[in-house]
Symmetry: C2
Subunit: 433 residues, 2 copies
């Protein structure tokens, strides 16, 4: 039997899973401070949702979707991103009709794209993101850009530059599309098959092409900024000014288009200042997306981070954070002690302490080795002597100090020992800094 995970998927285990939970917790907390509420949409959606939202000309839809028929003959797709599902959910649940606008939701969960697996790229990957829907002010765009920056800062990822660009309003895009079509008409015969298709459906997508031979044609193409309408220019100016006021470093990048069809207006990406590892997060404004999936005419702006990408950046630029272990490791030295240890472990856990134990008697030496590997703070030894005296022997595994504790006062004494341990650890960490 094939014992490996499906190609392009990965297991996240133990200490690494703890890191992912830490990123998620941090992202959630920050989004909540910004007034976002959680939304959880299903992993499977009707396929047409993504054709209508992500777009029929996007690489995602044309090449990368996990699409299949269920037993009832419905065409289902594993979501390649989360924004489309959030929009669908707003419409299905009429959320726009039952709450004050803008709606503000955050999400966190797995997405699926059938991409060529490569370093840091997975077919099942995980996104955290937010959507603000029913936007009436450029300040919502700015707020989302700030939120992304604050999330990274709170993770200690601070050497970040924000790239922004405007894809313009409909008027600007129509003018630009026309200019691109005219320009590429002269070159499209020599360009790749994908570009020929893009030329028909959405010439803007040609700018995303990665085929080396096509780059010379793309380099000479007209630039969006020369086709922005006055309204689109003013909007972008307002966004830039508000970002400056908020102290957000940013650069305007003409070449920034996003790989999803639904973006209009302001788009943005977060990059590391001195490291060309690509975007660690990105987002943008969308004017027509909600309407496109059957909802009312409300504009929105969203942002998403890839957790795999955050993990890559975090572990590259930071000392590993201290990993957790149990508070107490119980070491019964004989069979009678095993039963006692089992009862004590239950009492400790019921009182909020993390406790682990040997399920069968082991030697001192191997017991201490296990406790150490599990990063336990204390060892609790229970042997013949201890049982006779109704005591336990408690050893601080950092200082190696050891003392006897009556089982009757156990909870109180262990609690104060643990507090002391944590205090000493905090002092030590403060000294290191």
């Amino acid at each position: 039997m094939e014992i490996n995970p499906v190609k392009g998927t990965h297991d996240i285990i133990g200490d690494e899973a703890e890191m992912y939970s830490f990123y998620e917790y941090d992202c959630r907390l920050m989004a909540e401070l910004f007034g976002y509420k959680e939304i959880r949409t299903p992993i499977i959606e009707h396929t047409p949702l993504f054709l209508r939202s992500v777009g029929e000309s996007s690489d995602i839809v044309t090449k990368e979707m996990y699409t299949f028929d269920d037993k009832g003959g419905r065409s289902l797709t594993l979501r390649p991103e989360l924004t489309a599902g959030v929009m669908r959910s707003i419409v299905s649940n009429k959320l726009h009709a039952n709450a004050d606008l803008p709606l503000k939701y955050f999400y966190c969960g797995p997405c699926f794209r059938y991409e060529r697996p490569q370093a840091g790229r997975y077919r099942q990957f995980h996104q955290f993101g937010v959507e603000t829907v029913g936007v009436s002010s450029y300040l919502s765009d700015v707020e989302v850009i700030i939120l992304g920056k604050r999330i990274l800062e709170s993770l200690g990822i601070d050497k970040v530059k924000v790239l922004i660009n405007s894809l313009g309003d409909e008027e600007s895009r129509e003018a630009y599309r026309k200019a691109l079509k005219e320009y590429f008409a002269k070159h499209i015969d020599k360009m790749c098959g994908d570009c020929k298709r893009r030329f028909e459906i959405n010439p803007l997508r040609i700018l995303d092409c990665k085929v080396p031979e096509d780059q010379e044609f793309i380099a000479g193409a007209p630039k969006m900024k020369d086709y922005l309408s006055d309204a689109a220019k003013l909007y972008m100016d307002n966004v830039e000014e508000a970002l400056r006021k908020a102290g957000i470093d940013f650069e305007v990048d003409d070449n920034l288009v996003r790989g999803l069809d639904y973006y209009t207006g302001v788009v943005f990406e977060y990059h590391m200042e001195d490291d060309d590892i690509g975007a660690i997060g990105a987002g943008g404004h969308y004017k027509n997306l909600l309407k496109e999936v059957g909802g009312p005419d409300l504009e929105g702006v969203g942002l998403s981070f890839g957790l795999e990408r955050l993990h890559y950046v975090f572990t590259k630029y930071h000392e590993e954070r201290p990993q957790s272990g149990p508070d107490f490791y119980l070491m019964p030295m004989n069979d009678e002690a095993v039963d006692l240890a089992f009862s004590l472990a239950d009492i400790l856990r019921s009182n909020g302490f993390a406790a682990e134990m040997n399920y069968e008697p082991k030697s001192f030496k191997s017991s201490f080795k296990i406790a150490e590997r599990k990063r336990s703070k204390f060892a609790i030894i229970i042997g013949e002597d201890e049982i006779a005296k109704k005591q336990i022997t408690v050893k601080n595994l950092k200082t190696q100090e050891q003392s006897s504790v009556n089982t009757d006062d156990m909870l109180m004494v262990l609690r104060s020992m643990l507090e002391e341990y944590i205090q000493a650890q905090n002092v030590e960490e403060a000294e290191v800094k």
Copy 2:
């Protein structure tokens, strides 16, 4: 376009999502106190994994799996449960070779079964669970049963009874299987098609049959308990005694078999005492599962809760817990105030306060209505007067007390106001109890 979620899936939004996060947080915390580490396995797995683990005779495999071919021609399945993936992950990552046994992992995430949708049953549902692998003592079984009970208790779900049964060891099962086969041979002609198939592959599964016409034959079938070997009986006795010592109420239920082929030995379910809503959590011991998916010969025991089921029980038996809202709702009264409010919101959020605002000036009346609907603790009013005096007006939305605060001391004053608010709220809640 179809704007509903896929049949049998559901959106979890806002306050309800907050409840799910609360259950997950509680389950995680309790599992961590018991020494479990997190494991996250992919949602898609190679189909044979589930044939080998969940079992070719189970309803899940024969009727309920979302199975499809990916673009590379691999047969993939959306996991119908999480234990199989955890076992596969242990083998792929050789976790058994690199850590002390037993391995202890908890998991949390979506599963998929193509079932007939009905109240509280979804095609995408969510499970939290644990697996202990490399078990050398019945105490691991007991520990898992206790953990489930403690999780429910910590959620305030305490009128719970635990049902347990033993499916016996291989010797017992072989004897029992033979007895069943002999017994059903006389009746199988009159039984349903599923049962005819089960009779060939795994006669034990016949006991799961829900077809009314088959029940008379099933009622007269031999009972597992009469075929338990001495070793299996002793093991079950030990488990029962340890549960009694730990103060866990339980009943032995002869008819308890689980719908998964991999269980052997002790199996258990959690039910509400006075409510026949079915199992809210369940688990059991498995002897051969890890070996079956290509790993070493290690026994395990696991447990899982359905989050949808927990949510059903929690909301049925508990007052809704207080739902969160922002700490401060900023109400700018003119355009200049909008910019100021936007800056103040950023400062508040950067200092750990949850802040929300109007993005455009609105009347007092409608602003306060929004703040109330959002359950904000305080309103912050910024108008012409306030800007002139470099002040903000802060109103406690519970007591209706109002005061002016200089923007320079804002953080300090707001922090102490919020602390007072929370203290008053705690006192109030304590009085209610």
